[in-house]
Symmetry: C2
Subunit: 388 residues, 2 copies
């Protein structure tokens, strides 16, 4: 096991009927909230009313800031920063999924910065202060509700970059699984792909031989749990326990618990996917189900023992030959992604294969920024060709 520091102070309030507590929680941090959300769905499903009633009851003033896109863009975040300053906002409340939370975090940091907020994403400046962020989660995938990261796309250059800071980590997140009952089958599937990919990228990072058995078992158990419960959700979208297991599993997969002790975790599939969604505006999870199996195929030879373990533990593959077991594991994962309706090839997402070099060039810029030195544009293009 590698040395690590683990510190995750977010307070999680989990379960049905809990959204009404948000006003009281917000009041611990401020008196005037910027209410950040996406399109109209939270008004249709009643969550907007639940949140605003609770805010009013707690005496919290709030200013609406709707319109966050599912791949949140810099220009909109900048508009949020300006509004927050103009309105003397002292707390940012995100009501939504990863995109909304990530944009709320960006606004929280941007308000306190005397420069272009994008400089945080290119690592030319570092976050030194931020408004407190709280969340009410409506899509479970990113675990942004209990971690310190955020991802934003700068539209003019088509770069999707990220920031990390304990200052932007949510103070409180409220998760009510019943909120997910109205989430579409497609987004339920993409969410599951995202959760699984967070874990598997870290799991396959580990150098062989396996020496972090505690983390491996956490990832294997959580992966099976996400898969089984997503299968249930595809048939019964309002199955409370299935939604609850996915909602909590999404957090445990990417709040630092599953990876603590694994050493420096790289997320190459996420890195490459960010270029797909920056350039083609596809759903993040849809991009990941294309890239993850392609990346696993690329790295299978270097990680044979671990991939074979994955195949045996998660899919019950009984082939005793490690290379064959590894390949069966990749095939099984790909087949499962397809079974829940998430694309597994570029073509299925309407991404032209002749654009692979341009995508690879975009991703290489991220690779350099993230110090993933081995991911040249040639390597990345090779991975993408595994998804043809």
């Amino acid at each position: 096991m590698q040395n690590f520091v683990f510190e995750n102070p977010t307070k999680i309030i989990f379960g049905k009927g809990q959204i009404k507590k948000i006003g009281k929680e917000v009041s611990r941090f401020g008196k005037k909230a910027l209410l950040v959300y996406g399109m109209s769905s939270i008004k249709k499903n009643g969550i907007y009313d639940q949140v605003t009633s609770s805010l009013k009851e707690a005496g919290i003033a709030f200013v609406d800031f709707p319109g966050v896109k599912s791949n949140p863009v810099l220009s909109h975040a900048v508009a949020g920063i300006e509004l927050a300053r103009k309105e003397n906002i002292d707390v940012v409340l995100a009501v939504g999924g990863g995109s909304v939370i990530d944009e709320a975090k960006t606004i929280a940091a941007g308000v306190k910065a005397n420069h272009d907020v994008w400089e945080f994403f290119t690592f030319s400046k570092f976050i030194k202060d931020a408004l407190p962020v709280l969340t009410v989660v409506t899509v479970s995938a990113s675990a942004s509700e209990m971690n310190n990261g955020a991802v934003i796309t700068k539209e003019d250059c088509c770069h999707k970059y990220s920031i990390m800071s304990p200052l932007i980590q949510p103070k409180v997140s409220i998760l009510d699984p019943t909120v997910l009952f109205s989430l579409s089958a497609a987004y339920s599937a993409y969410s599951a792909v995202d959760v699984i990919t967070h874990m598997l990228e870290a799991y396959f990072n580990n150098t062989e031989p396996v020496n972090s058995i505690i983390q491996d078992r956490l990832v294997e158990g959580l992966t099976k749990t996400i898969m089984e419960n997503t299968d249930i959700i595809m048939k019964e979208p309002d199955n409370y326990n299935a939604r609850a297991n996915v909602m909590w599993g999404a957090i445990l997969g990417f709040n630092g618990i599953a990876t603590a002790g694994m050493g420096r975790v790289q997320l190459p599939a996420h890195m490459i996917e960010h270029s797909l969604s920056a350039l083609y505006d596809i759903a993040h999870g849809a991009g990941l189900s294309i890239v993850l199996p392609a990346w696993m195929t690329y790295t299978a030879e270097a990680k044979t023992v671990k991939m074979a373990r994955f195949a045996r533990e998660v899919f019950g593959v009984d082939d005793r030959d490690n290379s064959k077991a590894a390949q069966k594991g990749i095939a099984n994962l790909k087949a499962w992604f397809a079974s829940i309706g998430s694309p597994v090839s570029l073509k299925e997402a309407n991404i032209p294969e002749e654009n692979i070099d341009a995508i690879a060039q975009n991703a290489e810029a991220t690779a350099k920024l993230w110090f993933y030195e081995s991911y040249t544009k040639e390597i990345i293009a090779g991975i993408l060709r595994n998804a043809c």
Copy 2:
């Protein structure tokens, strides 16, 4: 899954060579520390020198308070409270295992109370303030380094009671697995028993049918990890990865992660064991390996499906009959406890069977205090007779 609130802000610094960071961490919370520890072992194995060098380097004054017993007693905690007041201590640093940390927590709360600290343990007063507590862990079992509980024995009445409060939860805990290399085989075994019992009591609490699969898999994976790595430790006490897996597993088993969503968790085996160690001063883990299988036998009929699942998942039992599988699971667990040298009967711990009624009477007082209404002294005596 049941509703829950999860909030665990302790900062964990994990790995070899990390103890030298304690001075800097303490300096975030105070300038003068009460250094709470047990007997001479931390002076022999060099940990005392590592800790005090780091404190001096960070400019932290400190006052030694040694002599914590392995079942920590109220009179000693009261002496610590008096010393802390006299010396104007502003931070409590525990260097030890669960007993030392629990007594440090008691001192931290007691310093701020204008009444007998025992009133916290009988729930006639509630903790409203406490000095900050930090820890350097030398025995991994209780997870007290990352939770809000503490247990103390009042010698004159032989009651071993507990407190819980976020105010006494450690701010920072440093865990260096190499520190465990010198832990005896007996205490390594008792530690493993304690860790496993924390998890299994919660796991078997769950009402059937199984509906918290995410927690079940966490517990099963962690239990297997603790068992496998303890087997390694019995042969190779200085195996770093094995010690690291147990050290981190002990925390994950009882810091709230494994139980979040399980509903109200009862710890009946711990409750009964507290009477054994209060009356006979045996090691807590040694008492648990006697009580847990006896309690499982008592409850096997009511929890057959879950016990059968446990037997299959953890021990690979392949009996398709649930009752038989459940019994095999209990037998396997008992055999494993015996294999690592932890007692599985009252006799092995030199506890006279004719004292069962007196033990049960002592435990019934705890049962009443903890609102475990179903545990009358007759029921408790019946459980203890399963350990004859």
